[in-house]
């Protein structure tokens, strides 16, 4: 309990650091931050007015605190490109990304666990070698290329699935019917490959290590069925496996930009992409902040769950 509380309190300076880094990103960018707002022939007066309006003339720390207080109230500024509040843009995008990531996670973890357990239990057999090879395959795959290849096979050659987009009428209305899900199939499968590889590798190593322990022999000697032994293996695998899965989920959410670009899926990655190329700094700052905070909180949750599963964990 104490450990959890400490971990929770410790997350606060991390979050502050993350916020500071997000905020500073705009200030390390070369060039004038106002270049996307000002017309090229702006007068000095207009420039001064806008600088004061955006607060760029105030000291860095003051700007940061100002931005932070507003962010804590849910106001992340207004997007320069669309003039809509950043928070609503980001939230819509987050929902789309989460939908995709959830499905990808399901596929990736299911198959990853399957391959991992098979490889770990039947060590050095043909099944193990196949499963291991598949997981190396998954880990080495440039996922944006896999996305393109799947589009080539399933959209261009076979015409079974749509190539881009999140739904027939844009992403505004989502329903869990085939008409919408067919748009999700290719991106979700593409996104699941790398996590599947990593999860499979981790579980294989874990299972092999646990099975080589003496207590397994002891359990079997006492007459436990394979199934019962499996339950013990499961309990030992769970903490590390959960930690890896949590990290992968965070990776999927934060790193979805490449796949969302290939499939034009209107999630946070896609939003980041347009923010970068339109030099839309409020949107960029807001999106990165939301994603990073999400990741930190997710890690916190995973740590808490780990402690629940494995009481031996004593971090010092």
């Amino acid at each position: 309990m104490f450990y959890l509380l400490r971990r929770f309190i410790y997350a606060i300076p991390i979050l502050l650091g993350v916020a500071l880094l997000c905020f500073s990103l705009v200030h390390i960018a070369p060039g004038d931050p106002l270049v996307s707002v000002l017309p090229p022939d702006a007068s000095e007066d207009l420039r001064r007015q806008l600088t004061a309006l955006y607060g760029f003339d105030k000291p860095f720390l003051e700007q940061f605190l100002h931005w932070l207080t507003r962010a804590l109230h849910g106001d992340l500024g207004t997007s320069i490109a669309t003039n809509r509040p950043v928070m609503s843009e980001v939230m819509t995008a987050v929902i789309n990304s989460v939908r995709l990531a959830a499905v990808a996670t399901l596929i990736g973890f299911t198959f990853g666990c399957l391959f991992g357990f098979v490889a770990g239990y039947f060590r050095d057999s043909a099944a193990d070698r196949t499963a291991s090879f598949l997981s190396v395959f998954g880990v080495s795959m440039p996922h944006y290329w896999l996305g393109m290849v799947l589009v080539i096979v399933f959209s261009v050659f076979l015409g079974w699935l749509p190539a881009t987009g999140a739904g027939p009428g844009g992403s505004g209305d989502w329903a869990w019917d085939w008409e919408h899900i067919q748009y999700m199939v290719l991106p979700a499968v593409t996104m699941s490959v790398i996590p599947m590889g990593i999860v499979a590798r981790t579980i294989r190593a874990l299972v092999a290590e646990i099975l080589s322990n003496e207590f397994i022999v002891g359990l079997k000697a006492r007459g436990l069925s394979e199934l019962a032994v499996f339950r013990h293996v499961l309990k030992n695998v769970a903490p590390t496996a959960l930690s890896v899965m949590g990290l992968q989920l965070g990776y999927l959410l934060g790193g979805s930009i490449l796949i969302e670009t290939v499939f034009s899926w209107p999630g946070t990655g896609f939003l980041l992409n347009s923010a970068i190329f339109q030099r839309d700094f409020p949107l960029l700052q807001g999106t990165i902040l939301v994603l990073a905070v999400f990741f930190v909180l997710l890690n916190l949750l995973v740590d808490a769950l780990q402690t629940l599963f494995d009481p031996r964990i004593q971090r010092n």
Partner: protein, 295 residues
């Protein structure tokens, strides 16, 4: 009592046991898959180095008339890209930038990260806390997001992309380095060395380094394939290498719209990235099992 001088029995011939690294090398050589991967990588590196000599055509010569020719066209063995440039030549020359951008960030991160991590692990106390907390803040970002955020704000270009990737990998290496160094530092021989009056620098050089650099190096090699995919990914998004330089990720980007007309040609650069990445991973796996490091 009679003292007989007996000839001493022939002493057993003392054989020097092969050193650790020789054993590792031998084990690695026996691993066929790893050796295959090493051969492929060697071929790729040689292709990159000798590209200007090996190229059949000018990789920058564009011709709208000759755009998007399929694989197996006369004079253009692997087809042409969307501007009519020979794919084979561009893939060969592109190996240079792709390999460079994949390996360099990991090398720099290995140097910087190991230094920071070893210092943090050996010194302990406040130094450790400060370094590790700063690393934690960077570590709080998913790597792809951090790379893209940094690249996006610094702007496109090879230098900026290299800087972003290095910053992404340093925290990971620092963590591994610090953890391993802390373990070594708590071993008895370090205490013994300190008791015999050795200075910290001597202890680090003589005892810590050779125990610590091995595992860190193995971890770093597993990062190379990630670095390649990420570097090409940055170019794929338009944030890394700028056109018309050939680089596999950038080529994938510009060929994206061509998947409807010339899918095989469009998929080629990605196949190269995949081939390199999987070779690095298989080799790294081979090295790891040869060194018998358990994950």
């Amino acid at each position: 009592m009679e003292m007989t001088l007996t000839k001493p029995a022939a002493l057993p011939v003392v054989q020097r046991s092969p050193g650790y690294w020789t054993t590792v090398g031998r084990r690695l050589l026996r691993n066929k898959l790893a050796m295959l991967a090493a051969l492929i990588l060697l071929a790729l590196v040689l292709m990159a180095i000798f590209a200007p000599v090996l190229m059949p055509a000018d990789p920058y010569a564009a011709s709208i008339l000759k755009r998007l020719k399929p694989v197996g066209t006369e004079h253009y063995l692997l087809g042409t890209d969307e501007l009519g440039r020979d794919m084979l030549s561009r893939l060969m020359l592109g190996a240079r930038l792709s390999l460079f951008m994949g390996i360099t960030p990991v090398l720099i991160a290995f140097a910087v990260g190991s230094a920071l991590g070893i210092v943090a692990g050996y010194a302990g106390g406040w130094t450790n806390t400060v370094i590790m907390r700063l690393v934690d803040i960077l570590y709080a970002f998913p790597s792809v997001l951090l790379a893209i955020a940094l690249s996006g704000t610094l702007g496109a270009g090879v230098g900026n992309a290299l800087l972003s990737l290095t910053i992404v990998f340093v925290p990971q290496i620092v963590r591994v380095a610090e953890s391993v160094t802390t373990q070594v530092r708590n071993r008895e021989f370090v205490d013994a060395a300190r008791a015999s009056g050795a200075s910290s620098l001597t202890i680090v050089r003589a005892h810590v380094l050779n125990n610590v650099l091995g595992p860190i190096f193995v971890y770093a090699t597993s990062l190379i394939s990630v670095s390649m995919i990420l570097a090409s990914g940055l170019s794929f998004l338009g944030l890394g290498v700028k056109p018309p330089e050939p680089e596999w990720g950038l080529m994938l980007n510009t060929l994206r719209t061509a998947i409807y007309t010339q899918p095989w040609v469009a998929a080629l650069p990605g196949a190269m990235i995949f081939l390199t990445s999987i070779s690095f991973n298989l080799l790294a796996d081979g090295i790891r099992s040869a060194m018998e490091i358990k994950d």
